[in-house]
């Protein structure tokens, strides 16, 4: 099982869903280029005729395009975000932790529920 911050996951989901909508034409183009590339036809044909795999809808241009885009940008995004989080912690983070809102949230029962999902 992978350790993932539940809050981080929710934040990422909220941030990147609109980005996904915006980039759909790009994903469509990427998926179309890949799925209809003659050199990759053998690979896609094998995957398409393998049990379970077609259920992932990989043969949809937007699905495949967004997957490939995510894979390509995952590593640079990881390093960029790690740097950004470190910067956040030393600059803004401490002030947020001292804020009344943060202290009110951490004192509530909701925070106890959140802690159950914390890695």
């Amino acid at each position: 099982m992978l350790n993932v911050s539940f809050a981080g996951g929710l934040l990422g989901w909220a941030l990147f869903v609109p980005v996904g909508f915006l980039l759909d034409p790009l994903f469509d183009w990427i998926g179309h280029s890949l799925l209809l590339a003659p050199s990759l036809r053998g690979l896609w044909t094998s995957l398409y005729n393998t049990p379970i795999i077609p259920l992932t809808n990989f043969n949809n241009t937007v699905v495949l395009g967004s997957l490939v885009f995510a894979l390509v940008f995952a590593v640079p995004l990881f390093f960029a975000l790690r740097w950004a989080v470190a910067r956040y912690r030393v600059t803004v983070g401490e002030r947020v932790r001292q804020s009344r809102f943060y202290r009110a949230v951490t004192a509530s029962k909701v925070y106890n529920v959140y802690k159950m999902f914390r890695p």
Binding site: D24, H32, L36, N49, P54, N60, T61
Partner: protein, 588 residues
Amino acid sequence: MSVKVFRWRAIGPLLVLFVLAGVLWWLFADAIARRESQRVGTQLLGARVEIEHLHLDIANGRVLMRGLTIASPHEAFKNLLQADELVADLDVVPLTEKKLIINRIAANGLRFGTPRQTDGRVAAKSGEGVAGRVLAETREWASQFQIPVLRLATGKISIDSLDPRRLSTIPAAAALGAWADSSRRAWQAAFDTLRLGPTLDSASATLERLRRARATDLATLNEARLAVDRLKRARDRVTSLERSVKTGAADLQAGLAGLDSARRRDYGFARSLLKLPSFDAPAVGAALFAPAAIKPFEQVLYYAQLARRYMPPGMLPRATTGPSRVRRAGEDVRFPKERALPRFLLRSAELSFLLHPTSEQPQRYAGRLTGLTSDPALYGRPMLFAATGPQLVVGAMVNHLRDIPVDTGGATLGGITLPAFEVPGVPLRLDPGAATTELGFKLSGDTIHARFAIRSSNVTWTRDSALANTTIGGLIWHTVSGIANLDVEARLSGALHHPDLAVRSNLDQAIASRLRAVLGEQAAAAEKQVRDRVDALINDKVGPVRARVNQVQTEGQEQVAQQRGRIDELQKNLEQRLRQVLGGVRLP
């Protein structure tokens, strides 16, 4: 140090998730499957598909469907078919490959053409999707047929104004005139480039010197032979130009013939403005029955074209619009693979259906459908359908195994009470009664051959009261009212995009002869008048062009012939003088 493979704190929530998914499946799977089946069916056929009850029994690979209704894509308040119950046996394993393989469907209580309360057409109204596009295409295809109209309401012939701009002969004549001028210039330029003058002058001078030369004057003899060679080459060039002039002249003559064709077209166009009633028996048949005869062809073509879209031949990847969702739909690309299962396959369907369901003694029939698949090349066998019964024989084959698809079908249906209809252009209503209908259809590649026939021996005619007192109306009524038999046949043949339609009936000759007797002289006079008007408009333009074309042609041919004659004469004189001087001796 031990490695933790599982985080036991996460297993609990996962188990809860699985249990929740199982409960949701148990509660909603049938409803979701029913809704999706309705949605996909509606999208595929372009008409509303409704299912009252659907139950998935995945463990036993069985689907039970009750109360299936498929609306007609063409008629607003009519169903294509209804089925009381359908039971399908599925292969479960291919579902993991997202492939639907149905080994057998048993359908009971099928009924066709039943009425419905709401408009079930979808593609006809939205025009979207594959069905919408195919429907629009077949409608456009059906609208191409020029059906003659019988205008019997008043019996008068009217002449509309004839607009010269709509005559095709005038622009054709202008174009031909320009072409003739262009040919004249091109031939003159080609003739000038031959540069025959110096060659002929030089040969003439050589001939003069040769006349005074002796056999020992070798320089003059040699010069004479060179002059003959130059003349031969010049003649070859003239021959080449002559061929070009001949070809150009033939093209100009073809242009003149084109003017005659354009004039005939203009006669036809002007005649169409007259709104003349047609006196030809085939045209009468087409006017009376073509609108009704085209409909079955249009409907069969719609289903044939849908089959071609959903069952394409070949094994290449195919992209289709993806399912609609909040995100962009994108395209779904399918990758067929040799010796793999098709995406959809119905191996066999046993159909049991009723005809005349509302009568006291409905007739029960049985049919069988095999090999309905989305990938015919993978399945390797054509789709076959057959149904038989006391008054019904139906057979169809959809063969999309090779690059050129072939769709054939035939049906004979007896004892069907067809609805009464107004005969177009005639003040009559025809009730065919119980009739026998036949339909034959073959679409091979882009070539169509189809036949539709109605036969009835107890037709009933009703007179339109509004037109009962008109002369023509009365004549037509007396002509057909005593005829109890109806025999109509429509044939369609040729290239799919522009086939020929021929309609005949046993009424054609009788109605045509009556019309000819009453309106013949009036129509002939009007026709002559309009031909004279067309001639008056185009003769001023065509006459000069015709004269110019002939002049250009004659000038070009005369010029070539004249130069060729001079060359031949000079060559002949030179060769003759050479022989005289040499006295038969051949010099090396």
